[in-house]
């Protein structure tokens, strides 16, 4: 897509908008009105088609663990670093909590919630028993 509507770039960038939603306890994704694909992380243009016509939509929170690892010897002890495939399509890094770090497995269904790491609000996941 050749950029055409340069006047539509928002004054408040999507990083700030996402963080503000997170502050209010909401996990939002962007949805491109032109190619109809969901976008994460937040962008000022669609990385797929180049459109600026992006809307904020509530994330379902549903996801599946795409890969997982436990970094060892970290100051705060053992935790899990996972890549989560969101039901809407995008992938994100996060932690799966509420389960021993090394018991998180690829293919596990997980559900998002908003938590904190070192006082910073982040999207975390927990096992979604019975959730498909």
């Amino acid at each position: 897509m050749i950029p055409s509507s340069i006047e539509t770039f928002p004054e408040l960038g999507p990083d700030k908008v996402f963080a503000d939603y997170l502050g209010k306890g909401e996990f939002k994704l962007q949805l491109c009105a032109d190619c109809e694909r969901h976008i994460f992380y937040p962008r000022i243009v669609c990385p797929h088609c180049g459109s600026q016509n992006l809307a904020w939509v509530e994330a379902s929170g549903r996801g599946v663990v795409y890969s997982t690892s436990v970094p060892r010897g970290m100051p705060e002890g053992e935790y899990n670093i996972s890549l989560i495939d969101l039901a809407e399509g995008p992938r994100m890094m996060s932690r799966v909590v509420g389960i021993e770090a090394e018991k998180v497995v690829i293919g596990m269904a997980v559900m998002a919630f908003i938590g904190e790491i070192d006082g910073v609000r982040v999207v975390l996941f927990k096992p979604a028993e019975g959730v498909q």
């Binding site: 970094p71 060892r72 992938r91 690829i106």
Partner: protein
């Protein structure tokens, strides 16, 4: 992009000088001193006066202005300066930039050089040279950079293809066997599969012996046109193909953790060279972690996707195996100065010159290297050949 296949670069430039410092602990030396030693060794090897260098290509993690510092230190007045950064693969990509610049006539003598004192700096101050940038939407979760990215790729490869920790260990054992034949290599004592499996877990499923060394080192190569190369002392090693590709910056955005951009970069390089994997006599890949070698051998076409674990087993890539891979001992057992890519080029050139002693591959005419950068982010494939391949 159509038609931009770069095939006019095939065989148009040659590496005519190589310079290396000692590898390992160089506690009395700065990174720039290591770069300068390697640069002057490469120029001496080529028989070219340093004031003839009019294209300077370098890169490192800690500096913001690597070219300015290197040019000032060496007393150069380059007309082409490139200190771009796409990770440790960057020096391999600078072969492409240098070849294009020489062909366009904007420079005639290209010096690609690097120097690092990351091992000594770590020991002396506890600080490791690392990329400075923040990975938004990832760093909050505190992944262990950079091995977490490679660990996630390894875990996914295991899940999809049944690759095992023993397969990963085979890569480390083969690298060590090659290092045993290289007097310059840092780790030369025997290594077994069990040693690797028993070493401390760093980031599941990667253990300490699945991870590369941290080394002080300098490396440099000199490139000139093929015409000029014929007049110089060393046997020219021609650049036959080079391809650059990327898939992501942060690992969360990598489309498929089991297929790297080397699938694309190698396609470009093979097309430019007019060669296929079967034509390659010796392979050097950026083995920052054992999973890299498996991923790259698949993506470079030496085995099918998913079969890398079996391919590297039973000594198949070790001395005496069917495919010589990482003949210097690699980043795992020879040297890894934070950004390893230039070491790949140096080993390709020395193998094609036939000067590598005990580890020399007989009648090697085509050498391929694959540089990796960031978190499996950028991949750069280069193919070199002797005069017989032109």
């Amino acid at each position: 992009m159509s038609g931009a296949n770069g095939s006019s670069l095939r065989g148009s430039v040659a590496v005519v000088g190589v310079g290396l410092t000692a590898f390992g602990d160089l506690p009395g030396r700065s990174a720039r001193e290591n770069l300068a030693e390697a640069a002057f060794r490469a120029l001496a090897d080529a028989g070219i006066d340093k004031n003839e260098v009019d294209g300077l290509f370098t890169s490192n993690f800690p500096d913001t202005f690597p070219c300015l510092h290197a040019a000032e230190y060496l007393g150069l007045q380059p007309r082409v300066m490139d200190d771009s950064n796409i990770g440790g693969s960057v020096y391999v990509s600078q072969l492409q930039h240098a070849a294009a610049a020489i062909n366009a006539g904007v420079c005639q003598v290209a010096l690609i050089a690097m120097g690092s004192n990351t091992r000594s700096k770590l020991k002396q101050s506890g600080v490791i040279d690392a990329p400075r940038e923040h990975f938004a939407y990832s760093d909050e979760y505190k992944p262990k950079a950079p091995m977490n990215a490679y660990a996630l790729a390894a875990a996914r490869h295991m899940h999809e293809y049944g690759t095992t920790r023993e397969h990963l260990a085979e890569v480390a054992v083969a690298a060590r066997a090659w290092a045993a034949l290289n007097p310059r290599a840092m780790r030369r004592s025997p290594l077994t599969i069990d040693d690797v499996l028993a070493s401390k877990m760093v980031c599941d499923p990667l253990s300490a012996l699945d991870c590369c060394l941290i080394a002080d080192a300098g490396a440099a190569v000199v490139l000139v046109s093929a015409e000029r190369a014929k007049q110089l002392a060393q046997k020219p090693v021609y650049l036959l193909g080079v391809g650059v590709a990327m898939t992501h910056a942060g690992i969360a955005q990598m489309p498929d953790l089991t297929t790297t951009a080397a699938a694309q970069s190698s396609k470009i390089a093979y097309a430019m060279a007019g060669l296929s994997p079967a034509d390659v006599d010796v392979v050097e890949v950026y083995d920052a972690f054992t999973i890299n070698t498996i991923l790259f051998l698949e993506d470079l076409g030496f085995c099918k996707k998913g079969e890398g674990g079996e391919f590297v087993s039973k000594g198949n890539i070790a001395p005496g195996g069917s495919l010589p891979v990482n003949t210097n001992g690699g980043g795992l057992s020879c040297v890894h100065p934070g950004m390893y890519g230039l070491m790949l080029i140096a080993e390709c050139v020395e193998q094609l010159r036939g000067t590598t002693g005990e580890r020399q591959i007989k009648n090697a005419n085509v050498a391929l290297c694959n540089g990796n950068g960031g978190h499996l982010s950028s991949e750069v494939t280069a193919i070199f050949g002797t005069e017989d391949t032109l």
